[in-house]
Each structure stands twice: as C-alpha cells, then as structure tokens.
C-alpha cells in the first residue's frame, strides 16, 4: 500500500479487558484513504474491539486499557480532545440506533444539536436534504421528516444512522457489522451506499460476512485470537491467502 494515500496508521496497538485478557495484540496496520477496509475474523477475534479503539469508544469503560498508538494524518489520536476526534471519525453501530426522542430531521443534524452548534434554518434544511440524498433515503422520507425515526424499517433506520454520522463530514466512518441485523435487500442498499461513499470518505468496516468483504472492500484484514494475521488487497487475500489460518477461515474450515 502506498504510504502517500494513507490516512490512519495503527502502531503496535494492544487492548486488554480487565488486566491480562488481551482482546487485541500488537496490531500494526495502515489504512488507505478513500477506500473500504474490511476487518474479518471469527467471533471474539477482537475485530470490534479494534474498530472501537479508533474513535476511543473504550474510554467509556474504565476496565479497558489500551497500549500503542493510532495516528490520524500523523497525529496521535490519544493526544487529541475526544470530542474533536469523534467529529473526524464517525461511527455506525451493529443495530440501528436512531435517537427515539428525535424526529428523522433532528436525527440527521443530531451531531450539531448535541454539540450546541447553531445553524440557520436554511443551512439545516440543506444539510438534512443533501445528507439524506447521499444515503438514498431522501425520496423515502421527504414527506415524513418530522416523524420519529423509530417508525422506519430496520434498513431505513440504519441508513438514517449513516446519515447522522455523515452530516458532520467526518474523515473516516467506522461501521460495526452494519448489516448483521438487516434483510438481504436492505443489506444490498447499504453495500451500494458504502461503495458510493468511498469517493469522499474513508470507510472501515467490521464484518462477519466474508462475501460482503469480498463484494465491497478494497483491502481486508483477517484477525484471529486478537492478532492481525493477514492484511492484504482483498482480491489477493481471497484468491491467494498467505497464512493457513486465513485460508482455513475463508474456506469455511472454522469461524
């Protein structure tokens, strides 16, 4: 991978729950800009833990400790204010979680509202419309903008959550198995959306689903028992895996 196009570098990162239970062990990797990077692996391999370290979500839980560095454009994220960092690195979760007390409209601009950033009405309208268009939700909800987001279907809710993350114009979007709670049609829509979005954003995607990684990602990481076993161009990894464990996982021998 050409270093010139990299946006994020993970350097010797280890994450432990409690004292010695390492969920992620000595991971070093560089993430390419404007590409989709998939993190794969069997349950409990540390892929979600790694993803959540990138926007310092672990700091919510005091028993999790982190060693090593993550650099965004060369700056150590552990030295940035968390609020600023999380505005640059957005996140979409496994289950759609729009704010149930807010309307669709308010959910899209929730990032601004919750941070006390005042926008003019015209600016708000513009952000809501363009962002909802970006996630291909506009035509479905334009007549129901002031209804609660929880009335939407699961797939629509998840696209609303992507919109909520996008509205802040982050550099990177982290997605934690964003389609695992969705039906195949909604999954296809989200996948198409991610491929669209990589023109403007860098996407890091945790997925349990190998074929999803094969369909949409440019690069793939394979993790096993907390270690980064293999990190390759997705095509190379799927056609010619170097490590026998990667091959075993991809051919369905375990996982």
């Amino acid at each position: 991978m050409a270093p010139a196009a990299s946006i994020l570098s993970i350097e010797d990162l280890s994450i432990a729950y409690d004292r010695d239970k390492y969920a992620v062990k000595n991971v070093t990797a560089t993430v390419r800009k404007n590409a989709i990077t998939a993190i794969m692996g069997p349950s409990g391999c540390g892929k979600t833990t790694l993803l959540r370290a990138i926007n310092r979500m672990h700091e919510l839980y005091p028993n999790i400790s982190t060693e090593g560095k993550i650099k965004l454009y060369g700056d150590n994220i552990y030295e940035m204010p968390t609020i600023e960092l999380r505005r640059k690195i957005g996140m979409v979760f496994q289950r759609p979680n729009p704010f149930p007390t807010m309307s669709i409209y308010e959910n899209v601009i929730a990032g601004y509202k919750l941070n006390g950033i005042h926008l003019k009405r015209s600016e708000r309208d513009e952000i809501v419309e363009t962002t909802l268009r970006d996630v291909t939700l506009w035509d479905e909800v334009k007549n129901a903008l002031h209804k609660k987001g929880t009335f939407l279907s699961g797939g629509q809710q998840q696209r609303l959550c992507v919109a909520r993350a996008l509205a802040f114009k982050p550099e990177i979007i982290l997605l934690d198995e964003p389609t695992s709670a969705l039906d195949p049609v909604s999954t296809a829509k989200i996948e198409d959306l991610l491929v669209e979005l990589k023109q403007h954003y860098t996407i890091i995607l945790v997925t349990h689903n190998m074929s999803q990684a094969a369909r949409i990602s440019d690069n793939s990481m394979f993790m096993y028992l907390g270690e980064l076993i293999e990190y390759e161009d997705t095509k190379t990894m799927f056609t010619n895996p170097k490590d026998p464990r990667t091959e075993g996982y991809l051919t369905g021998k375990f996982g």
């Binding site: 919510l60 505005r87 990032g111």
Partner: protein
C-alpha cells in the same frame, strides 16, 4: 436404551393415576385463583365502601368551602341535612405541601439517581444506594419528629408548610432515586454510545439523550412517589398541624386532606365527612396511579 429400562418406564406410566394428577392440578389452580380474587375484591370493597358512604356529601361546596365547625355540623345532623362546608383548606394545603415537597425532592432525587446509574459499581454509589434504602424504611412518624426538631423549632419557629414539605420530600427522595436509576438502566447503551460517537460532551449526553429517552420512567417514578406521600398523616401532625382556613403562607401552618380526616374522626358530629374526604383522597391517588401507568405504556420508547 436398555430394553429392561424401557419396560420399567412403560410399567410406571401404566400405573400412574392421571385422574389424581389432574385433580391436583385443578385444585392448585383453584387455590391460586381464590387468593387472587380475594386480593382484588379487597380493593373493590374499599372503593365501594367509600363511594357508598361518601358520595352524598360530595357537591360543589365540598370543593369550594373550608371545613365546617362542629356546631354547624351538629345542627345539620340534628335536622337530618348534609353537613355544610367542604374540605377546601385540606385540598389547597395538600396541593401546597406536595407541590413544595416535589420541588425539593425531584431535582435531588433525579441527580442522585443519575449519579448512581453512572457510577453503578463504585463504592460511594453502593453506600448511597444502601443509605437511600434505609431512608425508605425510616418510619414516617420518625421523619416527622426529626423535621419538627430541624425546621419547626429552628427555622420557622412554629408549625409550617415548609416543615411539612421537608418531611414529605424526605419520604419521596428514596422512591425517586430508585425509579430514576431503574429507568436510566432501561435506556439502551447503544443510544449513549451513538451520542458519544458524535463527539457529544458527556453532560449533554445526559441532558439531551439519557433524560429524554427515560422521561416516561422518570415521570412515572415521580407520580408514584407523589401518590405515596399524598396520604401521609403522621409526619404532618408533627410538622404542619392543621389550619381551619385556607393558607398560602409557607411559614404558617396549613391543613391537608389526611389531617382533616383525622380531625373529622375525632369529632362525632363530623363522621359523614370522613367518608367523602377519604373518597376524594382515594380517587386522587387512583388517578395518579392510572396516569402513571398510562404514561409508562404510551410514552415508553419503541
């Protein structure tokens, strides 16, 4: 399976008395049903008795006039008329006492409840939770005595609304703390994380996401706490005493519906007013309970 075991089991099944078993089952069900019916019928008997004995005293003046003096009541009883006057001094007093108690207890209770939720496993939180449970167990007459010492003697130099409200607020506090903590726990962690992931400062996560998402739970807890102290009599006897007229001065004594019931009970001429006042109090509490159940069902998230 071993064929001899199979034989034994078949024999066992063949000799089981299904008639006896289904009889036992029906007997057990009947006992459970009987106990449930007894419990329900007690509630209906209470309400029924209050309605039958109290309804004829309830009219417009019951809500607009203060409690009569014993002479008027005696004259009315002698001529077979209903007792004149009402319980306006009690109603306004109860509203004032419970309103001020809520103003004191709700902010404290919700802030402490949020603290307990946020720091669930810390040692201080455990201590506070235990103390709050102990507070809930303090007999209400003891709360009254202590508030008498603190407020009646030292602050208002006499029985007062303030003293009564402080006593009621102390009784509401543990209920609100617990219900706040419980309803915060019902908010999915993913919502909190979603807000955090947008770079939201933590105090705003609490104010703009956690509290609105658990709002119905908070309201329900407050309403139940209010309906719990609405009928408290013992602590009020020691802190606000009673008043024969309507009073809005917080430093002066005031009446309350349960206090009036106690006074009516002590006056043989006023017996009929006991029932109508109790009916009013019961109706009020029932209304709050139904309201809180309705809010819990209607406004809960998803």
């Amino acid at each position: 399976m071993d064929s001899s075991i199979l034989q034994k089991r078949k024999a066992m099944i063949a000799t089981t008395h299904f008639g006896v078993r289904s009889f036992k089952s029906r007997l057990f069900f009947s006992i459970v049903l009987l106990f449930a019916l007894i419990t329900i019928s007690i509630v209906f008997l209470i309400i029924g008795t209050l309605v039958v004995k109290g309804y004829h005293q309830i009219n417009w003046s019951f809500f607009t006039q203060v409690a009569p003096d014993t002479f008027d009541a005696m004259m009315a009883n002698a001529s077979g008329k209903i007792i004149p006057g009402g319980i306006l001094n009690g109603i306004t007093g109860t509203l004032l006492l419970v309103g001020l108690a809520s103003v004191i207890a709700i902010p404290f209770g919700i802030v402490i409840g949020i603290y307990l939720y946020e720091n669930a496993t810390k040692r201080y939180a455990g201590v506070i939770r235990d103390i709050s449970d102990v507070l809930q167990g303090v007999p209400s007459i003891v709360v009254g005595l202590i508030v008498y010492l603190w407020v009646v003697v030292d602050i208002t130099k006499g029985y007062s609304v303030l003293a009564g409200s402080v006593a009621l607020a102390i009784m509401m506090l543990p209920l609100i703390i617990r219900s706040t903590e419980e309803s915060m726990k019902m908010v999915p962690t993913t919502l909190k994380e979603a807000a955090i992931a947008l770079g939201t400062p933590y105090y705003k996560v609490i104010l703009r996401v956690l509290i609105p998402s658990s709002f119905s739970g908070l309201i329900t807890g407050v309403l139940l706490a209010v309906s719990r102290v609405l009928g408290e009599t013992a602590p009020l006897l020691l802190t606000t005493l009673g008043n024969s007229s309507v009073n809005w001065n917080l430093a002066k004594p005031v009446s309350a519906v349960p206090l009036l019931i106690w006074q009516f009970y002590n006056d043989p001429n006023m017996v009929n007013l006991i029932w109508s006042s109790s009916l009013f109090l019961m109706g009020f509490v029932l209304l709050l309970n139904i309201l809180s159940k309705w809010i819990a069902a209607k406004k809960s998230i998803q």
